[in-house]
């Protein structure tokens, strides 16, 4: 590219994109490098702040900010602890306000956690949801008469499963099944993409509404698997709701998950419109530094590598899934920083004896240790570099998957990393 940036961010997940947005707000010339589309396509699209704390007790927290205060007090080295309550709040407000004003129309429930119906009929605590999931939470919380609809030929979702798992406390919940395959056309199999594209078409929605109309009965809500369009989801839901006289909501599916994908797409689109390129397709494999100053990063394409220079760098390369961290038989390293992350000496101690039990797997807490400016520390306890900061799940001392705190950690530390760079002298 040959250009010089104020800041280069490595990692196109939520932390990287939130950091990029923050950098853009500060007027920094910024570039995001990402090997792949990141982890957002595998998430529900809902933003978690803190749902369970402490993880030993698996205690669900209705008041996340209260729980957060508790967490920060008990665990000052937790990423939330590093950032501090005030700045966590600030960053969450900034990010959520932005999403609330945008085309996915996110919303919160004031200070409280929301509860979301999952694809298997369990309940997931979360903090902010896009419009297509909002009445999912409402229908659940008010126990309104609701019809959950499954799609014939789509094995990633069973309406019967959802209803069965909730019915003991929600008698007004029913399941039904429709077959939209004839509407799509004989050639086309039912996969996530073809369904979503179909839902963007008004004629298709009209035909689906016709199939659903006789089933609605007294239902005030209809829950469908999250396939209701790609960018046009809000319109698709509104249109269907209007046709059926009941509020239509989505239930997020698993891998890949459209609501998560939509969020990623939106963030990238908005960044690009502000002149911040999110450059996908190749991994960064080396830090080029002079002493404690990082000069450039090496982006290694399949056939050729290039150096990208900047003043400041933020790494948000995540944990194992995206390849930011690697575990060999003997230990865990961060690939780019090339440091050992101090996993328990015996691999037998990396995980608990059960998969789903409390408090969570010790290896999930292994990560990059940082100073108060989110700079990674070397073995001597001093920052490895002056101008390189770390954000997101790669940080040490948290267990986002058990705390249900993934998005909050990403957003808060994404912002904090950029702010630390600004404080330390980014233009």
């Amino acid at each position: 590219m040959g250009e010089r940036y104020d800041m280069v961010i490595v990692g196109g997940g939520l932390a990287g994109l939130a950091a990029a947005r923050r950098a853009g707000l500060a007027g920094l010339r910024c570039l995001v490098l990402s090997a792949s589309p990141g982890s957002l396509p595998y998430t529900s699209g809902a933003l978690d702040l803190l749902g369970v704390y402490p993880t030993e007790t698996k205690r669900y927290r209705d008041q996340p900010w209260e729980a957060l205060s508790e967490l920060i007090e008990r665990e000052p080295h937790h990423p939330y602890g590093r950032v501090g309550l005030g700045r966590v709040r600030q960053s969450l407000d900034s990010f959520c306000d932005y999403l609330e004003a945008g085309p996915l129309a996110y919303s919160r429930l004031g200070e409280r956690n929301l509860r979301l119906i999952s694809a298997v009929g369990t309940i997931k605590p979360t903090f902010a949801v896009p419009a297509s999931l909002r009445s999912n939470c409402e229908a659940l919380s008010r126990r309104r008469p609701t019809l959950i609809v499954g799609l014939e030929g789509f094995p990633s979702f069973s309406a019967v499963q959802v209803v069965n798992n909730l019915r003991d406390r929600w008698p007004g919940l029913r399941a039904a099944r429709i077959d939209v395959r004839p509407l799509i056309g004989a050639d086309q199999r039912l996969n996530l993409f073809s369904l979503a594209a179909a839902f963007e078409r008004p004629e298709f929605r009209a035909a689906v509404a016709e199939l659903l109309a006789p089933l609605v009965g007294k239902a005030r809500h209809l829950g469908l698997p999250a396939v209701l369009g790609v960018e046009g989801v809000v319109e698709a839901c509104a249109d269907l709701s209007q046709r059926l006289g009941a509020e239509v909501f989505e239930i997020p599916l698993i891998s890949p998950s459209l609501p998560g994908q939509r969020l990623g797409d939106l963030l990238r689109r908005d960044l690009i419109s502000k002149g911040i390129r999110v450059w996908q397709g190749a991994a960064v494999d080396r830090i080029v530094a002079e002493g404690r100053r990082v000069k450039a990063l090496r982006r290694a394409g399949k056939h050729r590598a290039e150096l990208i220079e900047a003043e400041h760098f933020v790494l948000a390369t995540g944990r194992f899934f995206g390849g930011g961290m690697e575990a060999s038989q003997d230990g865990v390293r961060d690939r780019l920083l090339d440091i050992d992350l101090g996993a328990p000496t015996s691999r037998d101690d990396w995980h608990m004896g059960t998969f789903l039990g409390a408090p969570g797997h010790p290896i999930n807490r292994v990560g990059v240790e940082v100073d108060t400016s989110l700079r990674p520390l070397g073995a001597d306890g001093a920052p490895l570099y002056d101008n390189l900061f770390v954000a997101g799940a790669m940080l040490a001392a948290h267990d986002w998957v058990r705390e249900k705190s993934g998005a909050g950690i990403s957003i808060a530390t994404g912002h904090a990393a950029v702010e630390a760079a600004l404080e330390l002298g980014a233009r």
Partner: protein, 407 residues
């Protein structure tokens, strides 16, 4: 699917070779996440039920020979979106290319291999003679000289700075497009030249995995450019020609001694140097941009320069109403015509494939889709007709030529 592999030994050889490649391409890392399937416009669309994930599994499970016999690997356009989307970094696209390469020459569907062979033996895909070629370009230049009297058409100019390649579809089917190219080069005041032979800016052998053909064609092209002593070879709005050259150089260890550019990079370079006087009001209609896979995503993944930024830089200065389609850049979808699909003979597949593209363009409300690649142009043109859409593809050279103000 058809029985393309005749003997058991052949079957075993194919199985082992593919399995080894899948291993090397990182297939063992597959997490079954489904991202590749979700992003593939031709996933699981017919009875073959293939998609990138299932293809990897079949090969890992010892059924690589089955994969090689499927039509799907030719209905795939090798767009590379699967490789780009994979969180585990599995090079799915390389596996599909390798599978194609394991199909015997005479079993390659449609006209792809024949086209590659023609290029290799005659210097261009269409068997156009030197005389025919020179006649056509001179004729187009003459007509243009009515409008631009100072225009010159350089052919075989020793020591010219830029060697411009041309896709043979232009002289054959769309000769008028040549005039836009001539006008742009003229307006830039560039020192450039066409050649009498080896001017074809494509390499279809890359599509069939014909490594030998790919290399030989490339070397002969390089020799021609070297013989004219040009400093830069500019691929005029072809996607795969550009990528086949850059990646071919790496693969085959070719040190050309000259620069390779996609012509869009040249437009942007000249524009930054202030060589053009532009009037964007000459392009008032709403325009969107299609990112050719081999000029954006594939080079981007390979570490070569891609035209995404340059194309946008140029467009932003030559038209008044530019809107992005979504997704775009390296995340964009293939036009449905890549990888030789236009001449592979699977019309229904291509038509199905194109639905996602049609949706994308529809959503922009654009009247024209700027398409800096000749094959993409044909692909999009076909889709517009098939789906009865009001929008049409247009080359960037045409928009640029229109916006250029000559005194």
């Amino acid at each position: 699917m058809s029985e393309k592999i005749k003997t058991l030994e052949e079957r075993q050889r194919v199985r082992l070779s593919l399995r080894d490649l899948v291993f090397k391409a990182g297939g063992d890392r597959c997490l079954s996440c489904g991202a590749c399937v979700a992003g593939c416009p031709i996933a699981d669309w017919n009875e073959e039920r293939l998609d990138p994930r299932r293809m990897v599994r079949l090969v890992q499970n010892g059924l690589g020979d089955l994969v090689v016999e499927q039509d799907w690997i030719w209905q795939c356009t090798n767009c590379g979106k699967c490789s780009c989307t994979c969180p585990a970094g599995v090079d799915l696209s390389a596996i599909i290319s390798a599978a194609r390469g394991l199909v015997a020459r005479d079993e390659t569907p449609g006209q792809i291999q024949q086209t590659a062979d023609l290029h290799r033996s005659t210097g261009n895909n269409m068997q156009i003679t030197q005389e025919g070629w020179v006649e056509t370009v001179e004729w187009m230049a003459e007509e243009l000289q009515d409008e631009i009297p100072t225009l010159e058409l350089p052919v075989e100019v020793q020591g010219a700075e830029y060697y411009a390649t041309i896709n043979s579809k232009l002289p054959m089917y769309y000769p008028l497009e040549l005039q836009d190219i001539f006008k742009v080069f003229h307006a830039a005041g560039a020192s450039w030249t066409l050649a009498r032979e080896w001017w074809e800016g494509t390499n279809y052998a890359m599509f069939t995995g014909d490594l030998e053909g790919w290399e030989e064609t490339l070397r002969r092209q390089v020799a021609k450019v070297q013989s004219l002593g040009c400093k830069t070879m500019a691929y005029t709005e072809c996607g795969h020609g550009y990528y086949a050259t850059l990646s071919g150089f790496k693969r085959f260890g070719i040190e050309a001694g000259f620069e390779i550019l996609h012509v869009v990079q040249l437009y942007a370079r000249w524009m930054r140097e202030g060589r053009f006087k532009l009037d964007p009001s000459r392009n008032p209609q709403r325009i969107t941009l299609h990112d050719p896979c081999n000029a954006v995503r594939q080079p981007s993944m390979a570490g070569f320069p891609d035209i995404a930024d340059d194309a946008r830089y140029v467009l932003s200065r030559i038209c008044e109403d530019f809107v992005e389609m979504s997704p775009n850049r390296e995340a964009n979808y293939c036009c449905s015509g890549g990888g030789g699909a236009l001449i592979a003979g699977f019309k229904r597949a291509r038509s199905h494939y194109g639905k996602v593209k049609v949706d994308q363009v529809d959503r922009t409300g654009a009247a024209q889709v700027c398409t800096p690649c000749v094959n993409c142009f044909d692909g999009l043109s076909g889709l517009a007709t098939e789906y009865d859409r009001p929008w049409q593809p247009i080359h960037l050279w045409k928009l640029l030529a229109r916006a250029i103000v000559l005194d």
